[in-house]
């Protein structure tokens, strides 16, 4: 095999490698449906708001949500007890509790100030119009301050606009309706009539 052939092969190889990386980036940057949460705290919600209240909807088996839980932990650490947080894990009808109580559940549960709940058949998610695991809403005084994801990509930890927005709102809750893309698994089946569509 001569040098030219080797060079061609090497070039193809680099091209394929770089192409693969780009494809992977594209996938990670593909956001799910962020929903359109109500501007006021739903009255029929089973969760009672108490001061600044953060709710994260999560799919108990979504691998991307681990990064969201991690970001939540940073937010909680940063809020220094000012924030009341709830993580609602989807529990479809007919599923046993152990389907819900995964390591994600336990991770969320381990974050101080975070309350973990099973969202029976996605009822709360529907009340808050949440369609993607990792979707986070922040209410203060019954008013919606933030809605969206708190990661920069699928399963991607680190600095991201959502986390920065939440932290900023906690410091100065002046703005309303901040929105960021949500990266995670869908909370409802693709063909479900209850599926939250991205606006």
């Amino acid at each position: 095999m001569n040098r030219k052939q080797i060079s061609i092969i090497a070039a193809l190889w680099l091209l394929m490698g770089c192409g693969g990386l780009v494809a992977m980036l594209y996938h990670e940057k593909s956001a799910g449906g962020a929903g359109n949460p109500p501007k006021e705290w739903p009255a029929d919600s089973a969760i009672a708001p108490r001061g600044p209240t953060l709710i994260m909807f999560a799919h108990p088996h979504c691998p991307c949500t681990r990064a969201s839980i991690g970001e939540l932990a940073q937010i909680m650490a940063h809020s220094q007890g000012k924030l009341c947080s709830h993580v609602l894990f989807l529990q479809p009808a007919g599923q046993r509790p152990d389907w819900v109580e995964t390591d994600l559940w336990r991770s969320a549960e381990a974050i101080p100030g975070v309350k973990v709940h099973a969202d029976w058949n996605g009822a709360e998610a529907r009340r808050f119009h949440a369609g993607t695991s990792g979707q986070t809403v922040l209410y203060d005084a019954g008013r919606l301050l933030f809605a969206g994801g708190i990661t920069a990509g699928r399963g991607h930890s680190g600095d991201n606009p959502g986390r920065d927005a939440v932290m900023a709102l906690l410091a100065a809750p002046t703005g309303t309706g901040a929105r960021t893309p949500v990266y995670g698994c869908g909370l409802s089946d693709k063909n479900s009539s209850c599926r939250i569509r991205t606006p």
Partner: protein
């Protein structure tokens, strides 16, 4: 020349060092290729496993599908790993391979950093990978890897900083910072690589020098080994030669019956004695080593002074020879001849005295016997000469006495005197006969005898001869009792020995005659000068008389030696027996013990054939033929008296006699006479022998017959006293009657003409 060789060696070492360095580099590169190939495969598999473990599926409510991360790990990781792994597997050691591995490994780092969301910890994968790549000890690989890292950081830092730094936005200087840290590590790694390469070069140079040194050492060792092998071989050959020499000396010393000996320079201490010492001395060598005085004490006292003198000469460094006698433990005396020689070292110092001692007992005994035998031989020759002349004289005396007796009346005193002359001459003739027998010059009529029969026939005669006071016993033991001998002489011996036995038993006793067979071997014969080895028939005559003393034994067979009183014995009896036995080819021995008796043993050579009947019948015939005749006889005799007597006797009988004093005269006479019927000739004559005369006359007288006469003869007619076939012989002294009868017998006999 030396410098040139040194330079050549250095060049060789440098080339070898370069080769070793390249070889080591290749080894390291190939090994690192394999390690990195394994690492990439591991990372790929680990990525797949991690993806499966962390994000197995992507969910949509209750529905799920295989997570895209798994596909990414499988295919993207596979793509990144494929080319480097393939090159490492197919072309290990090549430059393109390690650079592809470097690029692949950096892409893996980039992927890891990206997947981790730009976690700073995962950047250590980059540094670890660079360290790993430094295993190649090729700084170019680090440069390639660092370029890939830098490009990745610049590109992703600009496009998607969260992917590489984990932050939403990153300034450009962060890319430079990261690249700077990579360069920072590269600097140290390159320094380390440089040091490692130098060390490798040094090691290669040392290795080359060591190999070169080893080669030289091996060459030196090989040369030295060859020299040692040669030396060892030479030493081995020398040792073998020494061993062989020692073995030969040991075989010689241990086999020979003589004694090799070695003493200290002062001759006072025995250093070595060969095993022959124990055989000759009858004592152990150890006793001589430990107590030299015991050896000295074995020497007969009379000979010790000579031995001391001999060893004193040896101690002075002179060669010496000495003869002495020793006493063996059982009392036997042995004669020893010993020669000693000094041994000096290179400095001329006397080291030892060596020598050889020989047992000469047998030789001395043999010398004594030879001396005795020679003496008997001399005496026998003297006796034979005397007997010859006596016989010639006695023939004339007897003949003339007979003529006188025939010529005078029987009543007259002349007749009586003539008769007394005849009787005295006859006794003298008997004495000369015995002398001839001793000197082995009497005539034999040998025939094959059955000695059993001879002894049996002699028994009757001996009983009569010995009288009643002596008991005669006969023991016939010989199964093959045949010997070639003269029967009359055997009887003569038996009678002589029986008479001696009778004289040894004046008060009576027992005489035993015994026959047997015996084989005398070479050893027995070698010890006795008068004995030859072979099969013998033995006749033993034993008496129970007083025996013979040791002083008498050596002289028993000497003529005229007698222990009897003067007038009772002639001293010729045993001498005659000795002579007869020797003439037959045998010998006679004596065994005697004082007070118990004596045994004489006659040994005669055994023959395998039994006596024939014809021979037995012919032997004793004595014809009483007419004694007169008219034929012409040529008489040749150098003794005038005897020639005259014979002529008178024959003429009286009617023959025509032509006398001659010698052969020349006889030939002359024969030429003048037409026919000579008989040649009567003496055998021993001056000028021409009787045998030669007869041969010459036969050409002109083919019908002539020959009658030889002699006192004894040793010529061609008679060999060792035995007549040739066809020869007629008349022994002196003869009587006129015997002459007349023998003449007639010869003339009437069918004597074949002889030519020799």
């Amino acid at each position: 020349m030396k410098e040139a060789m040194h330079s050549t060696l250095e060049n060789k070492d440098a080339a070898r060092a370069a080769a070793i360095f390249q070889e080591d580099c290749q080894t390291i590169i190939r090994r690192t290729d394999r390690l990195l190939m394994g690492l990439m495969i591991f990372q790929w598999i680990a990525g797949i496993i991690a993806a499966i473990w962390i994000s197995p599926r992507a969910w949509e409510g209750m529905g799920s599908s295989l997570h895209p991360h798994i596909w990414a790990a499988l295919f993207l990781g596979g793509i990144i790993s494929s080319l480097p792994v393939a090159l490492a597997a197919l072309w290990p050691g090549r430059t393109i391979t390690r650079h592809a591995l470097a690029v692949g490994q950096m892409l893996m780092s980039a992927l890891l950093v990206h997947v981790s969301g730009g976690r700073i910890e995962t950047h250590f994968h980059i540094f670890g990978s660079l360290a790993f790549l430094s295993f190649y000890r090729d700084w170019r690989v680090l440069i390639t890897a660092s370029i890939v890292v830098a490009l990745d950081h610049f590109a992703r830092g600009a496009l998607w900083p969260e992917s590489v730094y984990g932050v939403l936005s990153a300034p450009m200087w962060r890319a430079f910072e990261h690249a700077g840290w990579v360069v920072f590590e590269d600097v140290f790694l390159i320094i380390s690589i440089g040091q490692s390469v130098r060390e490798m070069r040094n090691i290669a140079e040392r290795q080359a020098a060591l190999e070169s040194s080893n080669t030289r050492i091996e060459q030196t060792v090989a040369e030295r080994t060859a020299e040692l092998t040669s030396e060892i071989e030479e030493r081995r050959l020398a040792e073998e030669s020494l061993k062989s020499s020692e073995q030969r000396f040991r075989q010689l010393a241990e086999t020979i019956q003589d004694v090799f000996w070695m003493t200290s320079p002062d001759c006072r201490k025995a250093l070595y004695l060969s095993p022959g010492y124990e055989q000759i001395w009858g004592r152990t060598c150890a006793s001589a080593y430990e107590q030299p005085e015991t050896w000295f004490n074995t020497i007969v006292p009379e000979d010790r002074a000579g031995v001391v003198a001999g060893f004193e000469k040896g101690a002075r460094g002179e060669a010496f020879e000495m003869e002495f006698r020793i006493m063996r433990p059982e009392g036997m005396v042995r004669s020893i001849l010993s020669r000693g020689f000094p041994v000096y070292d290179e400095a001329g110092t006397l080291q030892s005295v060596v020598g050889l001692s020989t047992d000469v007992t047998g030789r001395k005994q043999m010398e004594a016997k030879l001396l005795e035998s020679g003496k008997l031989e001399t005496v026998g020759r003297l006796a034979g000469g005397i007997a010859h002349d006596f016989n010639t004289i006695l023939t004339a005396i007897i003949g003339h006495a007979e003529l006188i007796r025939q010529a005078v009346p029987e009543s007259g005193p002349e007749f009586h005197s003539a008769e007394q002359i005849g009787k005295s001459a006859a006794r003298a003739a008997q004495l000369t006969q015995q002398l001839l027998a001793f000197s082995r010059k009497q005539m034999l009529r040998s025939e094959i005898l059955d000695l059993n029969m001879t002894v049996t026939e002699a028994e009757v005669m001996l009983r009569r001869l010995l009288g009643d006071s002596i008991e005669v016993r006969v023991a016939i033991n010989a199964k093959r009792p045949w010997a070639k001998a003269d029967a009359g002489q055997i009887q003569q011996m038996l009678v002589q020995l029986a008479l001696n036995a009778r004289d040894a038993m004046p008060r009576g006793g027992r005489l035993t005659l015994e026959t047997g067979e015996i084989t005398l071997d070479e050893t027995y014969a070698a010890a006795r000068s008068d004995v030859v080895a072979g099969e013998f028939v033995m006749i033993a005559i034993s008496d129970t008389g007083g025996g013979i003393t040791d002083e008498v034994k050596p002289h028993l067979f000497e003529p005229f030696f007698t222990t009897k009183k003067q007038g009772e014995g002639t001293g010729l009896g045993l001498a005659m027996c000795y002579g007869i036995a020797k003439q037959i080819g045998g010998h006679i021995g004596v065994y005697s013990e004082l007070g118990r008796g004596t045994t004489f043993k006659i040994f005669l050579p055994c023959v395998s054939a039994a006596p024939s009947e014809a021979a037995a019948e012919l032997a004793p015939i004595v014809k009483t033929a007419p004694v007169r005749g008219t034929e012409s006889i040529l008489l040749v005799e150098d003794d005038d008296g005897l020639r005259d007597l014979a002529g008178i006797v024959l003429q009286k009988l009617g023959y025509t006699v032509h006398s001659a004093a010698n052969g020349i005269e006889a030939i002359s006479i024969a030429e003048n006479h037409a026919e000579i019927a008989l040649l009567l000739t003496d055998v021993v004559m001056p000028q021409m022998s009787g045998k030669e005369l007869a041969d010459r006359l036969r050409s002109s007288q083919p019908s002539m017959k020959v009658l030889f006469t002699s006192a004894y003869t040793e010529d061609a007619i008679i060999h060792h006293g035995i007549l040739d076939p066809g020869i007629v012989f008349l022994h002196k002294p003869y009587t006129p009657a015997l002459l007349s009868r023998k003449t007639r017998e010869t003339l009437d006999g069918a004597q074949a003409p002889r030519r020799t």
